[in-house]
Symmetry: C2
DNA sequence: GTGAAAGCGCTAACAA
DNA sequence: TTGTTAGCGCTTTCAC
């Protein structure tokens, strides 16, 4: 039960290579002023001793080579793809990713996680679908390079990467309308806060649905039930729709998980899908891809989102004064078994 | 576009409160040797200035108050519950959690993530279902306090928290046998590595299935197909079972996601569930709970797992020489709609 | 191109 | 109880 052996430091490397610690530091950072010969010596010493720089110590003066990613809702099935995109983009750099699990839908908890990551010396932050107020995001971005993902609305202080939720909703509406549907209903996530109504994807999807319906000349058929992006939300929403005097022929749920609730309610009511009613979701989650479910959905290009966010963040870390960029990515419709022409 | 304002440091607080930096540091750490009066002064200064200690700097001498959690597979639906358990246990402490996304099933990637977390000054590590070799885990644990979760097999250097997968498999077998089933087949995740066969939950479940079948006098009915814990694995496994001269009356998939593939194959074959064949999964994932699916499954008590892991880790951080502890938690059967008495 | 020396923000050992 | 001083491991001037 020996206590941990003293860690190899830059001093050990310098001694072993018979150079100064400055020299080692320079080699580590590929900084200016190192001869090939010295670089060779130092690199060999590093390899022989198995030296690893301590990121925390580096951070005291320079960078920690760490990017923090805040996930407000760890269960959101959308985020693994984003993480993949980020890590992939960072693979050949010296940067590493650490994730901060945020309190779901809790503005205070979210802020606390962001602060904690700043305290821990993150060189930059990627905030995924944050629920915090604009001013709070601006404050964070004024302290550390920041990229906001999955939230509409810009700022001069941070870059944004979002999926075009308006276009995504239109993909679904057009797909259903092309199949011949007219009475296309929508299940949305209830929202009242004006900031969120303007910036959160769920609100934009509902708005995109309305817009696309009008564009197809189906303004009179617009029918939105406001529940939540949960299984129960979808279930209750479908119940409400089934109580209408004239049933819809298609239901577009703003999220796959809600679509699952819709499917359950329809099955309970003895309605067949897509025979009696077509159903579409959003997010292209694992559920949707299950053979048993085969739910038509919208894919958000999570990998690209992550990869773009990482690129923007590295740029901003390298040059904090870069003007803020906005990237909008296009979603894709994944047509599966739950949508078909109406009876 | 001003550059970020200089961060408030302990020196600012000390000046503002008219005390020494040591005093501030002591108050911060609730260390011995501070009068109530001074504490009062310091705390007020901290509040007034909005001071937050920089964890990285604290780590240079003491602790960073950060716990690292390694997730080898970010998509594993089991981990959010564990994270919840960990964060909940840490809520009223000064500790924060950061997650390291590991390369799925990739020993090198996993090691790299662990090293990166150590480099970044984590006070302790929780490794969730690591695939690394024993010796690598031992090496990590010799550097930093470590708790291994979701993997059987002990070590003197790290604590472990696992679910009793033997008992879990028995829960399923007994449930089905109690319903009157005899021909109960099992879909397992293929494994050859001896370390993994001895320590990974999937291998233990398959073993537990065999053991429970024998205990119920069903040794002759033991029937295992070896595919993978994936949708396709379940699908192919079920296909194989459906080609048997005598069909099983129940299929126990070692993971919910595989059970989903089984359900798909059965539906394709025109078999009803649970009418013709009963199906059970493992993990009690979101899928299983979907009203539309309603899959009988085994719940692993993820929150408790996380909470216990966090507690053990804090103990070990406080006293690194604590003898290694092993905690084994009991899973629960969640009977739902996919299991019923055989025809 | 190279290295000595100062210092990042904090804690620990020691004096007062 | 309080404050002074010396680092932790690294990067960054700034001499040479």
């Amino acid at each position: 039960m020996a206590s941990p052996p003293r860690r190899i430091t830059i001093v050990d490397v310098a001694k072993h290579a018979q150079v100064s610690t400055t020299a080692v530091s320079k080699v580590l950072r590929n900084a200016y002023g190192t001869s090939p010969a010295m670089r060779e010596k130092v690199q060999q010493a590093i390899a022989e001793l198995g030296y690893r720089p301590r990121a925390a110590a580096r951070g005291m003066r320079g960078q920690t080579y760490t990017v923090g990613v805040m996930l407000p809702d760890i269960r959101n099935p959308f985020f693994p793809d984003i993480i993949d995109g980020i890590t992939e983009r960072l693979r050949d750099t010296e940067y590493h990713v650490l994730l901060g699990p945020g309190g779901c839908d809790d503005e205070e908890g979210e802020a606390e996680v962001a602060e904690a990551m700043i305290d821990r010396g993150m060189d930059g932050l990627i905030l995924i679908a944050p629920v915090s107020s604009r001013s709070r995001l601006d404050r964070i971005a004024s302290i550390v390079p920041t990229v906001v993902v999955g939230r509409h609305g810009h700022s001069a202080r941070y870059d944004t990467v979002v999926d075009d939720d308006t276009a995504g909703a239109a993909l679904v509406v057009n797909h259903l309308a092309d199949l011949g549907h007219k009475r296309i209903a929508h299940v949305e996530h209830f929202e009242t806060d004006p900031d969120r109504l303007a910036e959160m994807p769920n609100a934009i999807r509902a708005q995109g649905y309305r817009q696309a319906m009008r564009a197809r000349g189906l303004a009179d058929e617009i029918d939105v039930v406001s529940t939540a992006y949960t299984q129960e939300g979808g279930y209750l929403g479908a119940k409400e729709l089934l109580a209408r005097p004239r049933l819809p022929t298609a239901i577009f749920a703003g999220a796959d998980i809600a679509a699952m609730g819709v499917l359950h309610a329809l099955a309970e009511a003895g309605l067949s899908v897509p025979g009696d009613i077509s159903v579409a979701g959003y997010d292209n989650t694992t559920f949707a891809a299950l053979g048993l479910i085969s739910l038509t959905s919208v894919d958000q290009a999570g990998r690209q989102t992550g990869s773009n966010a990482a690129r923007l963040l590295l740029d901003r870390i390298a040059n904090p004064q870069t003007p803020a960029a906005q990237i909008k990515l296009s979603p894709t419709l994944i047509a599966r078994g739950t949508t078909a022409p109406p009876r």
